[in-house]
Amino acid sequence: MKKYKVLKKIRVLISLVFLVLLGGFFLDFLGTFSTGFITGFVFPQFVPSLLKFFNVFTWVATGFIVVLILTLLFGRVYCSTICPLGIMQDVISWLRRRFRKRKKPNYHYLKALHWLRYGIVGATLAFLASGSVIVLSIFDPYSTFGRIVSDLFRPLLTRGNNLLSGILKNFDIYGLYHVDLQPLHIGVMAIPLAFLIAVVWMSLTSGRLYCNTVCPVGTFLGLVSKLSLFQIRLNPNSCTKCGICEKRCKANCIDTKNMRVDFDRCVGCFNCLQSCPFSAAEYSLNPLYKKLTLPEPSASPIPNTSASGKEGVGDKASHHKTDVGKRKFLAGIALAFFSVTKLSKAQELVSYNATTPVKRENPVSPPGADSTDRFNDACTACHLCVNVCPTQVLQPSLLEYGLRGLMQPRMDYHAGFCNYDCVACTEVCPTGAILPLLLEDKKRVQLGKAQFVKENCIVETEGTDCGSCSEHCPTKAVDMVDYKNGLRIPEVTEDICVGCGACEYACPTHPYKAIYVEGNPVHLQAQKPKQEKVKREEPEEDFPF
């Protein structure tokens, strides 16, 4: 039992490190963490790493292999040590017990809802096969955690910060400062909110019910854990069916009546091991391998293994029974989703009501997206890039990309514009939806092209100098050229425009903008701005006045 206590302590320690850091990354509204540090700790997140591996083909994205190996060795320890959503549920249950008389958990065995578990995994795989990550994005625990913290908690923290910084500035303290909040569309917040409610409710009532019914990663790793080298089981020789371990099991997977552990639902928290007064809960070699390594059967294990073998067969049989219904169900979901994911994307109105209405035909995807299609099929909308973006130009979208890009970040040039010397989003993206870019390359990526709408321009309508757009342009793709009455008016050189949106952001006209960026569905390469050294006659010896 002592060795099991150590196991649990290690588990709690590692899990807290991951929860605190990942929570910190998604709460951070000040740019505290370096992108390299963030990348390091997001590395073992299963879904992002898996996607990145296929999107980028890089050894940097081998975190999922580490997770698979860990699972093959020890079972679903990922769920209790690395997965932030899982750890968050443990914290919720722990907090609840703090405020209760009964300090010890009191769970009980629940039958697995296989139709739901495999239904979600099936839908996820079906959509992946069709090239869409939408179901995976919605259910991926890491991305769900990211959205919950980033879209719901971070705005609250920012508000708190703004309140405090407003007070502190009166005392000349500028260490904290006001941070502008970009209002999120209620529809964008609805999904993380729904998941937060579900997760909190399930963890309050039944521990890790979410992880064992909804989470596709949990289900998938559960399948893998059937092959784990080490598994938890109750030793029939010492088990008294006292039920203590069952009460401690937050995964609801210990059936003491039948002395059975559904190890594919075990999240590897090790609470049962240390709770058993008879040391009957054991963490030992998978009988699958025992058979291989110990060919001569000894007296006691034989009925045991044969029993579990029978159960295995029984399980399989029951799966087969439900298969037909399950398939129909899956096909139904899949059809329904296919039809909606390809729905036309919403056109984004650049402004509300004005002389010349301006409509953006194509949304602008972030640098490194390569193309909107590729991006939409690779992003799980964890919103990590939204967090690290220093200008807040990256904002979660609702239907700007269409349903397939639900919640995925887009360039919102009303919230900010892309900093010319920044590649932060490309450095942190854990799925490879935003590919890594060198700064020099990023400065040549053309996300879209600036479109000038002369009828809305102040120079035209008011007959006065403005030039706000050109001021902000980092390449002078928007330049001011001579116009009537000594005025100058913007002119766009599209081939050197990078589509950063500085012009659109800075344009002071309203309600419509006089310049906006039309997205490139496939990113192009911008020309380098022409650059000969500026010439100037040698300054005169004396002062010019």
């Binding site: 030039g467 001021e471 800075a506």
Partner: protein, 306 residues
């Protein structure tokens, strides 16, 4: 003179002479100052040195910082920190100059020196990349943010023709001394940006200015709040593609600096260094509104070389 003022001033004078005595041979610097201040320049132009050295020499000729900053006063130094670029690109005021100014303010007895700007690019990156945040902090100044509306208070501009009111950064309102430290450069909308245009960084709603006649708004705002001192950095000068610039190829090294308490004169003279003041309408407007002199022949100008 009130008794309290008398006491303050005599203590100040005492400290000044005391420090002179303690400085030994350095006192000659100040002896020089006294001589130069007798010249009572409206404007000092200097060329040929490093930004901090030129400032020290030119400031001496203007009569020394103690002419502008009295002991115990709060000072706000407002450089141009508009863009997220390095100092070599000359889109922001030279950090060495900012540092030298802050040091002299403290030497003159300032109780506190603030530095801020309402940046165009993301403010934290801009403060950092411009080198000004580091330089200002090292010199002992408090670097304050100016990126959200909550720092700005409404003020009215009685003389304004177009701009009747604006929201001004509270540090400008609260400080005793306001030192404006623009950089001279090309500007796509304002034609050139110097001291008057630099004041656009102390107000909140710049887009109103762009919408309603930029030049008149610039001229209007300067009528409301004259900085106590304008120090124009023309060490590196961006000659085209301003105000942000595209690359260092837009920049030439001119090694000039202008100091004046007349904002229009500072702009008129700087514009001449750049090329011509003909094409900058707001300088002429400022002159016509009567709070500054664009005709340099009417000014007592100190011209120094290093």
């Amino acid at each position: 003179m009130k008794r309290r003022d008398f006491i303050k001033k005599s203590i100040g004078a005492g400290l000044f002479t005391g420090s002179l005595l303690s400085m030994g041979s350095y006192g000659k610097v100040f002896a020089n100052t006294v001589n130069n201040s007798a010249a009572n320049y409206d404007l000092v132009a200097i060329k040929g040195g490093e930004p901090d050295k030129m400032f020290e020499k030119a400031m001496e000729a203007m009569g020394g910082m103690s002419k502008y900053v009295k002991p115990g006063q709060k000072v706000v130094v407002k450089p141009n920190i508009g863009w997220d670029v390095v100092p070599e690109k000359a889109a922001n005021t030279n950090p060495k100059l900012v540092s030298a100014i802050i040091k002299q303010c403290y030497e003159a007895g300032a109780s506190k020196v603030y530095v801020f700007d309402h940046t165009c690019d993301e403010w934290r990156k801009t403060y950092n990349n411009s080198g000004i945040e580091r330089a200002a902090k090292d010199a002992g100044a408090t670097v304050a943010p100016g990126h959200t509306e909550s720092y700005y208070q409404p003020v009215s501009i009685p003389q304004g023709k177009t701009l009747k009111e604006a929201k001004e950064h509270e540090l400008i309102l609260e400080s005793d001394v306001f030192i404006n430290v623009p950089i001279l450069k090309d500007h796509n909308s304002a034609r050139m940006t110097i001291a008057m245009k630099n004041l656009m960084g102390v107000i909140w709603d710049r887009s109103f200015w762009h919408r309603n006649g930029l030049h008149q708004c610039i001229a209007d705002f300067a009528s409301y709040r004259q900085p106590d001192l304008n120090i124009v950095d023309a060490y590196r000068v961006m000659l085209r593609n301003g105000p942000r610039g595209v690359s260092v190829n837009d920049v030439t090294t001119m090694k000039y600096q202008i100091i004046s308490d007349d904002i229009v004169a500072a702009d008129a003279s700087s514009a001449k260094i750049f090329g011509s003041d003909e094409r900058v309408p707001h300088i002429k407007m400022g002159d016509e509104m009567g709070y500054g002199q664009a005709d340099l022949s009417k000014l007592n100008i100190g011209r120094l070389k290093m």
